[in-house]
């Protein structure tokens, strides 16, 4: 029953926030809920690692992989909540766009994502992945501007269509399971399928069909090219904390779903087909995103494309498979989440100070905003895989995976892509940092809360760059054993 805790806390928080009118109370309630949620997740994860897989009823289960992604979610969501408390100083009061709505929807959003990680049943998982779209659509459109509405609509429609295909894939897998004599009641239960996987080999074609649909479906939500079209719009138009949440948790949600399916498929019909598919998606995403980063004009769009690029790298890691591949992929997921959160927070500060995200209007940050500028430099170095930051390590691991499995083409593609990304970021950032600012507005100083969360991010990045704590390593190992029993 412990598993219900991380599910109910956000729901309760959401209900409370919706019900109460006082902004100050709303914020406090939000922070409390976040703290509780973090604690609950902590307990869950600890329990998982003390007594293995946890079950709650037929439909909820938490194993090593779950715990890894839960940690990710807990950390990021806590950071986001603290950051928002200062970020949302002045929200335009309006329909669906007030503090209440913001926090309420955020908690619903969190609930759905936790549910995705906790659901034991693939159908259930699909339901909640779809639910994440619905919960976050209003958040994307939070600002009610033309751009926000447009982005929200595209996000809603494109993702729903994509997810529909994922449903088709799920059904096909179910069908294959049923045909291979798995009892219809448990034919969508993940561990049952894992256990029964070797028997599914008969329905080879069906499994391939299923994986294609799942890859396209959930891939839409991960932001694989060419299904990525919603991602830059949504990330750019949403409020910065939400962009962070989308980029750092939501994409991982979808990636988690793909991981689950990939595990089954590889176990049943060998990893050849699925991994080739992921390598293709990863490679294309990496190449296209890195090129598109050169010609971006809006800071948050730039960051959004970089998310696509990094999801491509993760997909490559999974596609390479093997110890190195999966280890690198998971590590990279985590590192990317932190770095991207950090950068979106920075972008938030930039917007707060310059009143725009158009990069050609932002100049001379190094002199006018030394701290934000420093953060931008650091984040840029981290996201482009420079030491001493975590992404250097994880990218190196994935590259090592590519080389050790003799995927030289992928390796070269990756090295080239990373170089292009580095060039693009360097180009855009140096222009934002140097030069003389056009209009120096009255700039609100960084709040203590903002400084705290950003320094936490920075600390995590550096620590993961030079040293992987034992506990974290244990969690990673747990996740790996789930994927490769």
């Amino acid at each position: 029953m412990l598993l219900l805790l991380p599910l109910f806390i956000p729901l309760a928080g959401a209900l409370f926030v919706f019900s109460c009118r006082q902004p100050r109370i709303v914020v406090r309630a939000a922070l409390t809920t976040g703290a509780l949620e973090l604690a609950a997740i902590g307990i869950t994860v600890h329990r998982i690692h003390s007594q293995g897989v946890l079950n709650a009823g037929q439909y909820l289960r938490a194993d090593g992989l779950t715990s890894f992604f839960l940690i990710n979610l807990g950390l990021i969501s806590a950071l986001v909540l603290v950051y928002s408390s200062a970020y949302l100083r002045h929200v335009p009061e309006g329909r669906f766009s007030s503090l209440r709505w913001f926090y309420g929807l955020v908690f619903v959003f969190l609930f759905t994502m936790v549910a995705v990680f906790l659901s034991a049943n693939l159908g259930m998982m699909w339901i909640f992945v779809e639910a994440t779209t619905l919960a976050s659509a209003l958040l994307v459109g939070f600002y009610n501007t033309e751009g926000a509405i447009e982005a929200g609509w595209k996000y809603l429609i494109v993702c729903t269509v994509g997810i529909a295909f994922a449903l088709f894939g799920t059904i096909t897998l179910y069908l294959a399971a049923v045909k291979s004599g798995v009892s219809p009641q448990s034919a969508l239960d993940w561990s049952t399928l894992m256990a029964a996987a070797p028997r599914l080999v008969g329905a080879r074609e069906l499994l391939k069909l299923a994986f294609v649909f799942v890859a396209v479906g959930y891939g839409t939500k991960v932001g694989f090219v060419p299904m990525h079209s919603w991602l830059p719009d949504a990330h750019a138009e949403a409020p910065s904390p939400i962009s962070a949440l989308l980029s750092a948790v939501l994409l991982n949600c979808a990636m988690y779903a793909i991981l689950r399916f990939d595990a089954i498929t590889s176990r049943a019909i060998g990893s050849g087909f699925g991994h080739t598919l992921l390598l293709i998606f990863g490679g294309v995403s990496l190449a296209v995103a890195s090129l598109l980063m050169i010609v971006q004009r809006d800071l948050k769009r730039l960051l959004a494309y970089s998310s696509i690029e990094h999801m491509g790298i993760v997909a490559i890691g999974i596609g390479l498979g093997g110890a190195l591949g999966f280890y690198g992929a998971l590590l990279h997921t985590f590192n990317h989440s932190i770095a991207k959160t950090f950068l979106f927070f920075t972008a938030g500060n930039v917007q707060g100070n310059f009143g725009t995200l158009r990069m050609e209007r932002i100049r001379g940050m190094a002199s006018t905003l030394p701290w934000t500028g420093g953060a931008l430099i650091m984040g840029g170095l981290a996201i482009s895989g420079m030491p001493p930051f975590g992404l250097f390590v994880s990218e190196l691991v994935i590259l090592a995976g590519a080389f050790s499995t003799a995927h030289y083409f992928i390796a070269v593609l990756m090295l080239a892509g990373i170089s292009i990304v580095f060039g693009a970021l360097l180009y855009h950032f140096q222009h934002m940092l140097m030069g003389t600012p056009e209009d120096v507005r009255t700039r609100p100083a960084l709040r203590a809360s903002e400084i705290t969360v950003m320094s936490v991010c920075a600390l995590c990045l550096v620590v993961l760059g030079v040293h992987i704590p034992a506990a974290f390593a244990a969690i990673l190992r747990g996740a790996m054993t789930v994927l490769r029993p």
Binding site: A131, A151, T160, A164, L175, P184, P232, L292, R297
Partner: protein, 220 residues
């Protein structure tokens, strides 16, 4: 094999044709409300199929699902959509980028395509080939509608048709998934439609039109 079973079997066999007709008609329809009506008819056919199937295979929960479909897809959603159309007070034609005749031909082509598409799987799945083809056809036309129709609402309709197709596929191949899942899926659909309606209104309020092909501020 009682009378009812034979009737059900007949109905099942022929219902594929009904579905194809709805597809073609939706493609041909000029007015949004017609499409919505056709969609509810389509859902009705599917509900009927569920009843028939579950009767034939003695799946008690099938009836529950059928009822669910009846309530949500045949009544609630079409009603809600009609209300939206009324509320929006915008021109009601579907404003397609292809003429009705072209649309019909394309839809017909898609149906043929779906027949070819399902042939290799007919053996594996065993299910009725016509039904499979129908489901694929629904998916394809749903997609076609979303791509070709410029009205925001028509995209919703297209999505619903597409969803019907997937639902049908699940039904014909596996006689439905566990009840909880089905309920969840339908609930998601309901929420989705609700949200989309919401967004349609906001689009109308912000842009003074509901033509999605004109939403091109964000690009590159």
């Amino acid at each position: 094999m009682g009378l009812f079973e034979t009737a059900a079997a007949k109905a099942l066999a022929s219902s594929g044709v009904f579905l194809f007709m709805t597809v073609l008609l939706i493609a041909a329809a000029k007015r949004t409300s017609t499409c919505i009506a056709l969609f509810s008819v389509q859902s009705l056919v599917i509900a009927a199929q569920i009843v028939a199937v579950s009767r034939m295979h003695h799946l008690p929960e099938g009836f529950a699902i059928a009822a669910l479909v009846l309530i949500v897809k045949v009544i609630t959603i079409p009603y809600a959509l009609h209300r939206i159309v009324e509320e929006l007070k915008v021109p009601r034609d579907v404003s397609s980028s292809t003429s009705p005749s072209q649309s019909v031909f394309i839809a017909a082509g898609l149906i043929l395509l779906s027949f070819f598409a399902v042939r290799p799987y007919a053996g594996v799945l065993g299910g009725d080939q016509a039904m499979l083809a129908a489901s694929v056809a629904l998916v394809l036309t749903g997609g076609f509608l979303m791509i070709s129709r410029k009205k925001a609402l028509m995209q919703v309709v297209g999505l619903l048709v597409l969803d019907n197709g997937i639902f049908l596929a699940a039904l014909t191949t596996t006689f439905g998934m566990p009840l909880v899942i089905e309920i969840g899926i339908v609930f998601d659909l309901l929420m989705g439609v609700f949200l989309m309606g919401l967004f349609v209104f906001r689009i109308r309020d912000t842009f003074n039109h509901v033509d999605v092909s004109k939403l091109r501020r964000l690009r590159g």
